[in-house]
Symmetry: D2
Subunit: 355 residues, 4 copies
């Protein structure tokens, strides 16, 4: 292990940006956070108070940060709308890139990041699907790969948020790409991981409702949605996404094989405490995705750093990020139109007339 450290910059200091910045500053021993950028003044204030004492330079302008002396890698943790643009600029500037998911809510724009990366094969470019770095999902994947459940055949996976009573997610829906692109994208990525990245979609169909936020319909979105995905390799996945969980974040996955099943987080728990009182036996559960996946993000930062320093392949292929958006967008379309959508085994959509 070399003691050389990777010089990292972080674009965006919103909720997730702050976490990435601190993770690279404090919990990634082989990285040096050297720079951050944000157009937001209050975020710049935060950087001044929390990062500057450790020698981190804050830029108001992203392009200026890219020119930071010795910068080797960029974490793109800004608004989704600028993910692709910032990622491409970083790639063109010769920086390794860790981009928050999704690359874009648009398949076409996501593809432009791949195209840019293809021209710089020496760079590490990774889209951060946090569950790939979670210890439980990895354990499940390893057990499946070792044959513990026979051949995987069916996946059930859900990403369900605790209800945010401020209704923030209604405004957010205007830009999120919809519940399948925003939430289920993780579950779709899991299906591609567990079933094989080359799994080709055969059909998608979806239904949804607005049980708590009818206003979501203005943005062609729903607060509860269920989607079915059929793959040409004879596997099926079904997804549930919700914005109205009462107890907390409930992200659970089951992988059902011909000889067994692996269940991840079907019995959620915040910690190891059980409370026995007049209401029975109770435990608390994580409230938000970061409560659940905090250490996955730390692992992600450390592994991305190691790949850059040691020039090893990143653990998930960039192509997968485009595939996931493609499936998510098709589910979202089916959710809104009510129609089932079919694809041939070359990945081409089959026109309705041909069905």
């Amino acid at each position: 292990m070399s003691a050389r450290k990777l010089k990292v910059g972080c674009a965006g200091l919103g909720r997730m940006g702050k976490r990435h910045a601190l993770n690279f500053l404090q919990r990634t021993p082989r990285a040096d956070l050297v720079a951050v950028s944000t157009p937001d003044d209050s975020e710049l204030e935060w950087a001044k108070a929390n990062l500057a004492p450790y020698g981190v330079t804050a830029y108001k302008n992203y392009e200026d940060m890219l020119k930071h002396e010795g910068l080797e890698a960029v974490v793109v943790a800004s608004a989704t709308a600028v993910h692709a643009e910032q990622a491409i600029k970083a790639i063109e500037a010769g920086k390794n890139v860790l981009c928050e998911k999704p690359l874009s809510t648009s398949v076409e724009i996501s593809q432009t990041v791949l195209d840019a990366a293809a021209k710089k094969p020496e760079l590490k470019v990774m889209c951060g699907f946090s569950r790939r770095f979670d210890a439980s999902y990895r354990d499940a994947f390893n057990k499946m790969s070792a044959g513990g459940i026979g051949a995987p055949a069916v996946m059930r996976s859900q990403t369900c948020d605790k209800l945010d009573p401020t209704g923030f997610f209604v405004a957010y829906a205007e830009f999120s790409g919809g519940i399948f692109v925003d939430c289920s994208i993780h579950d779709i990525d899991l299906a591609l991981w567990f079933f094989g990245q080359d799994s080709k979609v055969k059909s998608v169909s979806a239904v949804g409702i607005t049980a708590v936020e009818p206003d979501l319909r203005k943005h062609n979105d729903r607060d509860n949605a269920v989607g079915l995905v059929e793959f040409h390799n004879g596997k099926i996945a079904y997804f549930y996404a919700s914005r109205m969980m009462a107890a907390g974040q409930e992200d659970t996955t089951e992988i059902i094989g011909t000889k067994g099943k692996l269940a991840v987080n079907t019995q959620p728990a915040l910690n190891l405490v059980n409370i026995f009182d007049e209401n029975g036996v109770r435990r608390e559960i994580p409230q938000h995705y970061y409560d659940r996946f905090e250490y996955a993000f730390v692992t992600e930062a450390n592994e991305f750093t190691a790949c850059c320093l040691e020039n090893t392949p990143v653990p998930l292929k960039l192509e997968g990020a485009v595939q996931a958006v493609r499936i998510g967008a098709a589910l979202q379309e089916s959710l809104i139109t009510g129609e089932k959508i079919f694809f041939d085994d070359a990945g081409q959509r089959i026109p309705k007339a041909r069905l």
Copy 2:
């Protein structure tokens, strides 16, 4: 409580018939099992050994049993193919009827039982959906009805059998009506129970695979299937059925409401024993549906008996049994054709051309 007992006959002494006969003989204090019928000689032998000592008369012919002196009620526990016919004959003979599910795999034939029952409103005629009598499902229903989860919006429910390595279910698929009619019928009935018996289906879609038994395709069936059902009242249900569980029977249900969730059997357990050994912590789970629902069948026998003796309404409406078959059959059709099926709010199917 009167000490008068209901005189009951049981048609069919196959696996489930034997259980019904013994439940009415031994575990239904207010009933007297007085007669049984079966065309099968080995089953008659079993009756001779196990029921005759208690004064139960065994008939080879169903019609003869119907004429048994004083017979008041009939449990139809024969092959599905004759459920409707035997139920109708019993109704016409003035007997109360508890019919195993389904009335028939055909919607039309199921309806003929309703028609027969409508002519004898004084009789109790019930189709036995065992989960309606299970203590856990009832507790969940009561908690939901008391407002504990706000307004119910989404149901996830699955009926998953342990893999039967004899492949019995392949031959059985010829007559079963398919995996949605045979297995998911229970989940569909639960949706109608929890969402309201008057819930009207808006659309169904389904996908499925043959992960372990390709031969099922000969009978237009699958060994794993997922179905989506959308109701006109803005609720959705999604179902999973499987024939290949490794650990045992896994029948689980979640009812998700605007203020909470009720989960039934998402942590299955055979009993209260946990085994700690070099493999970790382990518990066994029920192997077959009767391991799981034995006491529900006992409760069913006792409640049906009480309704007959006290002339009170049976706890579930016969109409529901037809509704459930209608939805199950539509899901099965969608599973095979791959097409989503739509219904208007009068319950009429919307022709594809009109979509």
Copy 3:
């Protein structure tokens, strides 16, 4: 299986007596409840309303019931103070006896029942330790016997009641023999069952407090107590008993062996429902011992009946009931005096002076 039924009488119709009477009347197919006895008028009223319609004769006088035509067996479910006397009278009258635990809170009086039974070896005389008939404990015992945990070495077991806010148990403590004789007697019996009925006690020590009911001290009792028991065969058991559980009845047991551990009810649950709401994930648990052990009592009734009809040995030896009281009484003494008590391997207490 013969259709002959065992004619059973039940002495005492208090809370537990009613349950035994109904279990033998309705849930023990091979038994006929023919008679009951109680000196209590309101209990006689209850019998008139609930048992008389089924042909059960109610006696005010126990001795009269013993003379009931054809009576073959007696369930002694009266107050503990008369258990031994009634059991002995029944034995002397040639009846089989199922006696509620304990035979007596006194070792000496308990022994008189054994002496009486020894003179009538043809009779079945059993002291009802309900956990011996519980499916989970039996499963654990079978798994241990099959070698699943190597050699059993340590047992932890607890009998913990939900706090009864009426404080009934304070008055009850005058006659109960104390918390170790009343509650832990079950755990002691489990230790004798799992470690071998011939396990000889080497020492006992105990401590206790009155956390909620200081008045218990008037009766030399405590509301929380922990006891240690060392056996001459190199095994140890430790027990916890409490009167102040908030959530419900918590009777749990662990058997720790050289190669594994069996845990019974360490995750108590009333049923299979989990409630997800703003407080986290919650389940209810049994409130009282009958909620937990109802089916064990039914099994007990059926197995006792079968032993009488088929003249097979009862599943637990009567001697055990005296042993359990002996250990319980020694723990209770240690709890009050604070002194550790030692026994030689002949079972004789070692005087303090000799230590």
Copy 4:
């Protein structure tokens, strides 16, 4: 938050020393690991490979490390036999000290560390009881402190190691102080934490066996032991320690109060994966204490560092470490002699003759 970092040295690079060194190097952002010391050549080699590249100086001699330029704090993670001596030397040299538990297996020697610390009140001196830094224990403590279980009355706590088939712990027993001092010390510390650091012991008694390692008797030790501790404030704690768990590390605690119970880790789990296969439902559990408490050690390092930098009190008093050894040693004595030991409320042992 200042960016100044605490300069830390680590004494000892055995299993736990390596972990401490790496935690201070990589996972304690406000600390700089500047030096380590060990007399062991292979450990020095390890330091050369793993620490030297980051600028950490390795010393063969502890006293030399104490003279390292600018050193501010020392982590004593060497063999228990030199804990006290090294801690005192560091204190005398004006360094803050984080000492691994126990200060010593001797009460008297432990006290010398307190005496040394008392002379330098400006220094932070802390004995590392890892459970005090564990998120679940802290959550339980906070819930208890907030009144969630009424008044705490009884604690059950166990420290049970997975069986080490090499029998390492037999040789180790020569120096460990015995199973109560080595293992239960954590549980004792928990009792003092939850019941109040000023809780005074009234009596202790213990029993134990050698179920798997009879050779432990040579060192006056046992492989399974149960101890009872009674406090003068009317609370009781009981402890179980074992060296022969089959499934893994099983450190569990229950705090029982007058209105509820808090259970920590009574359902151990390595992660969030459940495996369903032909053996039922299974999960893995942590194998060793570091699997279970890794993040507690990281938190400990960070909090100790913050206390040193900000001159705030350390979260647990040094006196507690002596109290815990006193109770542990008394339990160990009772385990071996078989005698119960009594203390007056001034903490003085009551001679046997006076009982």
